[in-house]
């Protein structure tokens, strides 16, 4: 077995030392069976251990399953904890990836309900399952359901790499509830922080929606168009939706030539040769493109 305290930082060394001392003491009450986990510390060092439980301040862990005592490690020193996935997790995520959202949500709901033991710990699977349920609603753009599902969801206890996405769920819920000012405030704050392009892409999309609702159409266009230009490859779903919104905003602001040109882009690159009903209606309303002038005689 790999030595779990090798190359650890001071915090981990200290914690491990305490755990070793406590292990030599008489056994205390065992609250529950401990589960194997990796505690990833903020400096990315990690402890391979067994976690017994978590409270609002931290987790209780031991180096060995049968150590007499556990060590309490506060959350402010922990980046997240990598637990082994619960039963049914892979199936749920597979269902999500193949687009079977009903099945995915059913499985995820079960996981969320039955894995609340470590719900205060970052990386716990109950919250993670909630997050993917919300992702599923988002993928289907069922925003009303998303806004209901956000109740009781705590993005702060997601793993590091999921936390940004989790925080975005609150904004999606604001959008679903038409709380534009609230959403705008959060979006402006996030966009002024130092996020990479992939993370900004969804923010641009959301702010574009909000700006359009706030009648700031030009600014909305500038945000939405970034989703399918500099945010290339991040999310085809967002790109498609951003392009549709952009076309509608261009039509509303009388930029008809560009709206017409982008209808082609939608049809060819996102619509499999056709347009959705909304854009078909818009296209029918657009006046015909002016005829190109005949080329001048040489």
């Amino acid at each position: 077995m790999t030595n779990p305290i090798r190359n650890l930082g001071l915090t981990a060394r200290r914690a491990a030392a305490v755990a070793a001392v406590l292990a030599a003491l008489p056994a205390a009450l065992q609250a529950a069976e401990r589960v194997p986990a990796h505690i990833v510390l903020r400096d990315r060092k990690r402890i391979e251990c067994f976690v017994e439980r978590s409270d609002n301040a931290g987790v209780f862990w031991s180096l060995k399953m049968d150590d007499a005592h556990t060590v309490h490690l506060p959350f402010d020193e922990i980046a997240f904890i990598r637990f082994d996935p619960p039963e049914g997790w892979e199936d749920a995520i597979s269902a999500f990836r193949r687009g079977d959202h009903d099945d995915a949500r059913r499985r995820l709901s079960l996981i969320a309900e039955t894995n609340k033991r470590f719900v205060t710990a970052p990386g716990n699977f109950s919250t993670k399952a909630q997050f993917w349920i919300l992702e599923s609603f988002k993928a289907q753009q069922k925003l009303d359901e998303l806004s209901k599902g956000i109740e009781g969801f705590n993005a702060a206890v997601l793993a590091d790499h999921e936390r940004h996405g989790g925080e975005l769920m609150y904004i999606w819920a604001d959008v679903a509830r038409s709380q534009w000012a609230e959403a705008r405030k959060k979006l402006d704050a996030l966009l002024s922080s130092n996020l990479d392009v992939a993370r900004q892409t969804e923010l641009w999309f959301l702010r574009g929606l909000v700006l359009a609702r706030q009648e700031q159409r030009d600014a909305a266009i500038m945000d939405l168009t970034k989703v399918f230009t500099v945010g290339y490859g991040v999310s085809p779903m967002l790109e498609r939706s951003a392009l549709m919104q952009t076309i509608e905003l261009l039509a509303q602001t009388e930029r008809l030539d560009e709206a017409r040109a982008l209808l082609d882009l939608y049809r060819v690159n996102f619509g499999k040769g056709s347009l959705p009903a909304r854009l078909q209606e818009l296209q029918a309303r657009l006046p015909a493109a002016p005829e190109a002038p005949a080329p001048a005689a040489p």
């Binding site: 790999t2 779990p4 990796h38 990833v40 990315r44 990690r46 391979e48 980046a79 997240f80 990598r82 793993a159 590091d160 790499h161 990479d196 392009v197 992939a198 993370r199 030009d218 266009i221 500038m222 945000d223 168009t225 970034k226 399918f228 230009t229 500099v230 945010g231 290339y232 490859g233 991040v234 085809p236 790109e239 952009t246 261009l250 930029r255 030539d257 560009e258 040109a261 982008l262 082609d264 882009l265 060819v268 690159n269 499999k272 040769g273």
Partner: protein, 934 residues
């Protein structure tokens, strides 16, 4: 892919102990070496076996010996010995067939050897052979080979030899036929081969439905996608070059963004077990390092995407991308290109502020870049179009200094300088600059707008004739110009100002008919109304003003045009005594045009209507408000207009005494601004003068003294001229001249400079100094020719004529007197003019005509003794000189009979002459005819 296996050899039937050991051990060692990748060590061992035992091996050893050739071929192929490899694979496949007779002795690698043979031929460029071999493999060995892989390879060969349809069909089978059971990787390979082929054949659009069905193969796990990035970017470039830009965009959209790759690697590192951690962390670190070195890898893709959108006419899309890149990549090697495109797309999108921002950034960061001039060109035009004329002027001014006047690079900046000066209302400089442009660039890029601005500059400088000439020339040279409606609009204005009312009417009617969508048509309709008013067609004028108003109201920026229309409608209603209507217009104006510059005019013009509708008092506080509001600025025309109307109204509603009381204690916050105080003094003086100056002369004098204590700068021109005249009348010439000079030092548009010139001219005309009189002559000429103020023309003409008479310049004086007499309403000096005209004729030797004029003088202006007496006397003398003594005496008799009672030296002289002539007549001796002109 080559298959390596040692197990097949174990089934060899060993014939001798020696050969068993030798062949088995050597073969085992060789395969072991191959497994380690040491093909160069494995090959000699295998070659040794085939060299030693290969002869008649098919008989000696049976099919299983073919396995050795297969592995030898693999080694040879791996070491680039393709010819030898082909031979080894061929021998394996051809010389060692399996048959039912050797059930325990099988060549397990026969089918793979065939595939490898084909693959090696493919590698050697023997495509036709490869096609045959692959085809054979598919036909004869379906169950023994990786069919999908062979189909992909065969398709590649077919595509290479131009059998495109067959090759594409095979690839489509691999991608879309479930029964083939191709791996995702092979299906992805098949799809990328198809993409490559469609790109090479410039048939991109045919690929679109394939991508529609199968592009999930390009959207696999992010790290797999990342491997495709170079291929996708290359193929996007090829599609772009073939003008299949939507497809180019689509291909780039399949690319894995580096951020997502990094997220995935971070996530893997976080999720790694301790045993995997080192590798995962190293991979993440390597990726981060790669991203940090050199240009950000995503930037090229972003720029290509922005470029495609720009080319496709998605201007706002490109603008947002370029602008974002300009913000995010301050150190990019492509920054000049990014900034330039951010400027251009912002301009095209009409986003002026970002355009200026990026343009200025470019110029600051890359002052010597070759694209600098292109940016400047776009930028100055942007600044100009955006209305930032100060900045446009500054930048264009700097830019043009780098080039010779008249050269192409200086064309645009020279135009922008002139046009910006026009827009900044620096018309005098604009006139010079635009004139230089029009003259200096006969083939100039901006010649058309330059000539337009030049003509408009003349309009702004009130040079109506010059403007008319330029506008006509413009219309002749650019009849289809987009600026034609504006040209006609201003041409109509010139006609109007030059009193060419019929022509003005024609032009406005033409503008209305030909350019009904002209954005300033409301202004044209207002001119139409003005013309019809002049022609006394008030109903027609009202109709045009109403149309103008209707058109202007919804137009942004034309509030004043609509206000002017309503102002004129109010005036017309007053003129037509439609008091209620006029009052309603007035009320409407107050409601709807609270901030209009015509507010005061409307209040004033509506006073009769308010008076008739018993609402005159309403105007009093409004006028007082205007007076107080403008009190800080003594030169305000509004102040003067308001005060004049106020005095008239107040006197009308109350009386002059009440007005005087009001003016004495005007309800303005104290202390009064000096400008307003000066005006109020003048108002009080004039009110007192109206009441009768004799009873108020002391008070008037006191008020003038108060006024004279003002610094000239604190008084408007009107009070200054009024004060100067009073001072002059009091003989305080120097003090008067000081005030007049103050007036003349101000811009002429402040008014009353003509009065100052006239008064000074007349003062100087009375001087003994010839220089003063010459200056007087010049001043009076300026009044007459420069200002053409009708009410001053009489005095100026008279002054000039008198100066010429004083100087004995009869010839110069004659036309002035003629001019004077041609104006029947000029009455102040008609007797003098008649007499002096006669004198001029007299000096010109035109005695008969002179005589008529003398007679006309004393007949028509007998009471003007100064002139009639002289006319009588000179008439008599002329008769005497003609030898008609009797008639001469009769003239003197008549003169003395009519004027003899008046004490006048000329009359005295006439009396003396009469005595002499009568005496001479009595003695019949000739007498002196009296040659002097009286």
């Amino acid at each position: 892919m080559f298959l390596i296996a040692v197990s097949a050899w174990a089934q060899f039937t060993i014939t001798t102990e020696e050969s068993k050991d030798t062949i088995y051990q050597r073969y085992k060692r060789a395969v072991g070496l191959m497994t380690e990748g040491s093909f160069e060590k494995a090959l000699p061992a295998l070659q040794e076996i085939t060299r030693t035992y290969g002869k008649d091996a098919e008989i000696e050893w049976g099919p299983k010996f073919g396995n050795i050739y297969y592995h030898q071929g693999v080694c040879e192929a791996q070491l680039g010995q393709h010819g030898a490899a082909v031979e080894s694979f061929r021998r394996c496949y051809i010389d060692f067939p399996n048959d039912d007779a050797h059930l325990g002795n099988r060549n397990f690698f026969r089918a793979p050897a065939l595939v490898q043979w084909a693959a090696t031929e493919q590698l050697r460029g023997n495509t036709a052979d490869a096609i045959k071999l692959y085809g054979h493999a598919l036909e004869e060995h379906e169950g023994e080979i990786n069919r999908a892989e062979v189909m992909v390879n065969l398709a590649q060969c077919l595509l290479r030899t131009g059998e495109t349809d067959k090759g594409r069909a095979l690839l489509m089978q691999v991608i879309g036929t479930e029964s083939i059971n191709a791996s995702s990787a092979l299906r992805q390979s098949a799809l990328t081969l198809l993409m490559r082929n469609y790109a090479d054949r410039k048939e991109g659009p045919k690929l679109v439905p394939i991508l529609d069905r199968h592009d999930e193969l390009l959207r696999g796990p992010i790290l797999e996608r990342h491997k495709l990035n170079p291929f996708l970017f290359r193929i996007a470039t090829d599609f772009s070059a073939a003008d299949h830009r939507l497809l180019a965009l689509r291909c780039m959209d399949y690319m894995a963004p580096p951020d997502l790759v990094q997220h995935e690697l971070e996530e893997r590192a976080d999720a790694a077990s301790l045993s995997e951690l080192r590798a995962a962390t190293a991979r993440l670190a390597a990726f981060r390092k790669e991203r940090a070195s050199g240009e950000p890898p995503e930037l090229n893709v972003m720029m290509a995407i922005a470029r495609e959108h720009f080319t496709l006419g998605h201007i706002l899309v490109a603008c947002s991308a370029y602008s974002w890149m300009a913000e995010q990549y301050p150190k990019a090697a492509a920054r000049p290109e990014i900034l330039y495109n951010a400027v251009v797309t912002s301009v095209k999108a009409g986003f002026w502020v970002p355009a200026q921002t990026w343009g200025t950034t470019f110029l600051t960061e890359f002052p010597d870049h070759p694209m600098r001039d292109a940016v400047l060109d776009v930028l100055v035009e942007v600044l100009f179009v955006n209305g930032d004329y100060e900045k446009a002027l500054e930048i264009a001014g700097k830019l043009r200094d780098s080039f010779q006047p008249g050269t192409p690079p200086r064309d645009l900046p020279d135009f922008i300088v002139g046009a910006s000066l026009y827009q900044l209302a620096r018309y005098e400089e604009a006139e010079t600059e635009l004139g230089a442009y029009v003259n200096g660039y006969p083939q100039g890029m901006r010649r058309e707008p330059a000539r337009f601005y030049q003509a408009l500059t003349a309009v702004k400088r009130l040079k109506w004739k010059q403007a008319a000439e330029w506008l006509d020339a413009f219309a002749a040279d650019y009849p289809k110009s987009l600026m034609m409606p504006a040209v006609l609009h201003h041409r109509a204005l010139c006609h109007f100002m030059l009193d060419e009312f019929d022509d003005a009417l024609n032009v406005v009617e033409r503008t209305e008919q030909e350019y009904p969508d002209y954005q300033d048509l409301a202004r044209v309709l207002n001119i139409h109304g003005d013309v019809l008013q002049v022609k006394a067609d008030l109903t027609g004028a009202a109709s045009r003003y109403a149309s103008a108003r209707e058109r202007a109201l919804p137009m942004p920026g034309q509030e004043e045009v609509a206000a002017y229309s309503l102002y004129q409608l109010t005036g017309i209603a007053v003129n037509q005594s439609q008091w209620d209507k006029a009052a309603q217009y007035h009320d409407q104006f107050l409601r709807e045009h609270r901030d209009s510059s015509y507010m005061l005019d409307v209040i004033i013009v509506a006073i009769p209507a308010l008076t008739k509708t018993r609402r005159a008092l309403e105007a009093v506080p409004r006028l007082e408000t205007f007076i107080i509001r403008n009190g800080e600025d003594p030169e305000s025309t509004d102040l003067q207009k308001a005060l004049t109307a106020y005095r008239s109204l107040y006197a009308q509603v109350f009386d002059q005494h009440k007005l005087l009381q009001r003016l004495d204690d005007f309800p303005a916050p104290k202390p009064l601004p000096r400008g307003l105080a000066g005006w109020l003094l003048v108002a009080r003086i004039e009110t007192l003068e109206t009441l009768g100056s004799t009873s108020h002369s002391n008070r008037i004098e006191g008020l003038y003294r108060e006024l004279s204590a003002f610094d000239s700068q604190q008084l408007a021109n009107y009070p200054l001229v009024k004060l100067a005249r009073w001072l002059n009348s009091r003989g305080e010439t120097a003090a008067a001249v000081k005030r007049y000079d103050a007036v003349l030092a101000r811009p002429p548009e402040q008014g009353y400079a003509d009065y100052a010139l006239l008064d000074l001219g007349l003062m100087e005309a009375a001087s003994e100094s010839a220089a003063d009189r010459q200056r007087a002559l010049e001043r009076l000429e300026t009044v007459l020719e420069g200002y053409q103020t009708p009410e001053l023309a009489e005095a100026a003409t008279l002054g000039i004529a008198r100066l010429h008479m004083q100087a004995g310049q009869w010839e110069e004086a004659f036309p002035r007197w003629s001019e004077y007499l041609s104006h029947r309403n000029w009455t102040s000096a008609r007797a003098e003019a008649n007499y002096q005209l006669a004198v001029c004729l007299d000096h010109a030797g035109k005695t008969a005509e002179a005589l008529k004029s003398y007679i006309s003088t004393y007949v028509n202006f007998e009471g003007h003794v100064d002139w009639s007496a002289r006319a009588y006397l000179r008439s008599a003398i002329i008769q005497k000189e003609r030898g008609d003594a009797e008639r001469a005496l009769l003239v003197l008799d008549d003169m003395l009979k009519r004027l003899g009672h008046i004490d006048n030296p000329v009359i005295g002289r006439a009396r003396t002459l009469k005595t002499e002539w009568e005496a001479a007549a009595a003695t019949s001796s000739p007498s002196t005819p009296g040659t002097e002109v009286p």
